[in-house]
């Protein structure tokens, strides 16, 4: 009994670490740049597919992919913000119009990135084996790759947190999130900060994609499911709150693990049910105000 509980909890936490990482990226993009980026999952997919190519085709270590995919997705995000979203912000008559338009645009980006990937890699499900040997935690068995995924997710999450809390750019980001106008008067280059936020969100998604590919099979169509999970976690934690996303990720991972234990077919339905109830009862989430 105790082992079963431990089993369920650890599986939930392992999944939760990934969810937290994915959600933090989305939270940064929405909380500061005000883009509810529906193509978030596609950056995850890009990270996963590129890592598969590097590992399965060229025999490189998936961890090496971090130094490649991270900067690549960062650059892609930066470019997208500088070209598309900045223009949208300049032409929108109100913040509400910008939010609506930027979200619809990100739907378009989702189709573009997803189908480019399908043209390049095809729809086949891809996977590779890396550190697949089991590890015993208090009687419950888990793959070493899952533990690696979880620890890298935690490290990246912590680094990211200290980046926001301790560096100049992190301070500028927090200032822009609080009051964009006032931040601009303090001499912060708002357009640059927003682009960096969007790019960081994309890079976090890319890194999450690498980690997912270590433990799970990937394919060109996987993005949207992770996007919806990210949105659920972000709403759960409070739109725009980064600690909220972090906690929300682990919470949703636990819920998913518990529901899967009792009724595997209902895990996704449970996510959406939580999400819809939350929107109705407390749309600001657990950490929002």
């Amino acid at each position: 009994m105790l082992v079963t509980i431990l089993d369920v909890v650890i599986a939930g936490l392992l999944m939760g670490g990934l969810y937290a990482l994915i959600a933090m990226g989305l939270s940064l993009q929405y909380g500061v740049a005000r883009v509810l980026n529906v193509s978030h999952g596609e950056f995850i997919m890009l990270g996963g597919m590129i890592t598969w190519t590097l590992t399965a085709q060229y025999g490189l270590s998936p961890l090496l992919s971090l130094v490649f995919c991270g900067p690549l997705t960062f650059a892609l995000g930066y470019l997208l913000h500088r070209t598309i979203f900045r223009r949208l912000a300049a032409t929108a008559e109100s913040p509400g119009v910008f939010e609506g338009n930027s979200m619809l645009t990100s739907f378009g980006l989702m189709f573009i990135i997803q189908n480019l990937a399908l043209v390049i890699w095809g729809p086949e499900i891809r996977g590779y084996s890396y550190l697949a040997q089991p590890v015993n935690i208090g009687g419950a068995l888990f793959g070493a790759n899952r533990l690696l995924t979880m620890s890298v997710a935690l490290v990246v999450g912590l680094v990211f947190y200290f980046y926001l809390a301790r560096t100049r750019m992190g301070m500028a980001i927090r200032a822009a999130a609080q009051d964009r106008g006032a931040a601009a008067y303090m001499g912060i280059n708002i357009n640059r900060v927003l682009a960096v936020c969007f790019a960081l969100g994309a890079a976090l998604a890319g890194i999450a994609g690498i980690l997912i590919s270590i433990s799970y099979p990937v394919n060109g169509l996987m993005g949207f499911e992770y996007t919806t999970i990210a949105i659920i976690v972000v709403v759960l934690g409070g739109l725009g709150s980064i600690p909220g996303s972090f906690i929300g990720g682990f919470l949703l991972g636990l819920v998913g693990s518990v529901v899967t234990y009792f009724e595997p077919g209902l895990a996704l339905a449970a996510y959406y049910a939580i999400f819809i109830l939350l929107l109705l009862v407390r749309p600001t989430g657990i950490m929002g105000n």
């Binding site: 949208l88 619809l104 709403v235």
Partner: protein
Amino acid sequence: MRTRGVSLKKIAGAVLLGVGVALLASLTLYASTYTVILVTSILMYVILAMSWAMFSGPTGYISLAPAAFFGMGIYTAAVLGLKLPLGMVILIAGLGSFCLALLVGALTLRLKGIYFVIFTVGLVELIKNLVLWYEVTFTGTRGRFVIPADNNTIYHIMLAILVALLLTAYLIRRSRFGLALQSIGEDELAAAHVGVNVNPLKTIVFAVSAIFMGAAGAIMATRWSYIDPYIAFNPLVSFMAVLMAIFGGLGQFYGPILGAVIMAYLEEMLITRFPYHYMLIFGLVLVATIVYLPGGLVGLAPKLRNWMARVRRATPGG
């Protein structure tokens, strides 16, 4: 002069619409089966885009729930198709979608902006997963068969739904409810202050727009003949409706029709041969429309007119 100009325009519009409907209604007499099936698909997208624009156009609430109502219609046809005549099934599908939308609208239309959008996305996924779980657990199979109907019957029913939709949309648009919806879109608080009963109005129009999506789903199911939750509650249906309406332009009554006809024709031409490339084009059109063409295709017309007037003024003696 002005009133006469307007009434002339109205008469011309009515005549054009009448001729168009008559031409479309008699299509089965002279066109090939392929053409009839093609036009049926186009009509389906016109219905989806138009009924989406009926609510979301004036109010500015971006609903991604069309797939939920469309899927509701599909499942009505799958469950009741054996027991009831086709006309009844379609009526029940419309009514069912109306009730679902009424419930959803009453619960959620007080959510603002982005919250409403993500709620509607979640709704489609929730229903899909619940139906999937129910089918696998209780009926033991994932999909269902639908009693197929004759191509010409499907076509005529689709056309009838479209005509009913156009009439409803037109009547709502020119009534005081249309004006009230517009005022909600411009400033909801101000609308409430001048006496618009904001929440009931939004909910009713949202629910009325869902009737046509449900009815279209029910008749489309008889053509597909096999359905499962992934086919019925495909979020792409919502995106298509939104893209087509925005691509055509929400500023004019005929904007969504124009957008739907063009995009649906493109889809029919490209999707079987180049599915990934079609979706790629779909995404590019969506991004390009929002970034460079916020008024859609119909927003181009005044720009063109201005440009021509400028050219004429610039030409000596013109």
